[in-house]
Amino acid sequence: MTLETYFDYFILPILTISVLLVFIRLIKGPRVVDRVIALDLIITIGIGIITIFTIRSNQKVFLDVAIILALIAFLGTVAFSFYIEKQEDD
């Protein structure tokens, strides 16, 4: 078994199932904060999927997208928590 088939038939399916499991929590999460961390985790797993896709397609440009996504995940979580905390003051 080569490394390419291993990535295609083992690593990528595991990551896909992980995204689906987190998506269940994103839909049913009882509070807003549950949804926020679920969204954060989905973006983080997306960075992993982009990395595997970079290896498989041999296109190193895609890693730039991963940098931007890491930035967006951090800024999104911080902004959400800032406004959730503000909301309580009303």
């Binding site: 080569t2 490394l3 291993y6 990535f7 083992f10 690593i11 595991i14 990551l15 199932i17 992980s18 995204v19 499991l21 987190v22 269940i24 929590r25 009882p30 509070r31 904060v33 549950d34 926020v36 961390i37 679920a38 954060d40 985790l41 983080t44 797993i45 960075i47 992993g48 990395t51 595997i52 970079t54 290896i55 190193k60 890693l63 730039d64 991963a66 940098i67 890491a70 930035l71 995940a73 951090f74 979580t77 911080v78 959400f80 928590s81 800032f82 959730i84 905390e85 909301q87 309580e88």
Partner: protein, 139 residues
Amino acid sequence: MIDLLIAILSTIGALAIFFASLGILRMPDFYLRLSVTVKAATLGVGLLLLCAAILFPDISVTTKAFAIIFFLIITSPIAAHMIGRAAYFTGTPLWKETIIDELSGKYDKETHELKNECQTDDPISVEKEQIADSEDETK
């Protein structure tokens, strides 16, 4: 030889991410979900990026991969701390079987500052318990 190393690293990374997603689905409480998510997902994505850094013979890919790993390790604890703090202020309930809530009554809910010591003897400052009464409240 290097293929074996890549296979082992990517397997550990993918399984860590899978366990993180199982944890966020199955853990009984927001705070437990948070503590599972941050550590396991950062480890998994870091290992996958390490695979890319080893596999490409190019110095630019290695630099980018290490930059992403560094950025994730720096930022994910900060984001987790801020969202956990916001969740505690908005009254997210703790798990039913939580033994002790050490922050109970120590936060000033008006100014969002830590008080020096807990004044639980004073009946006015006793906060409402944040520990949930039933399992369904946190599910």
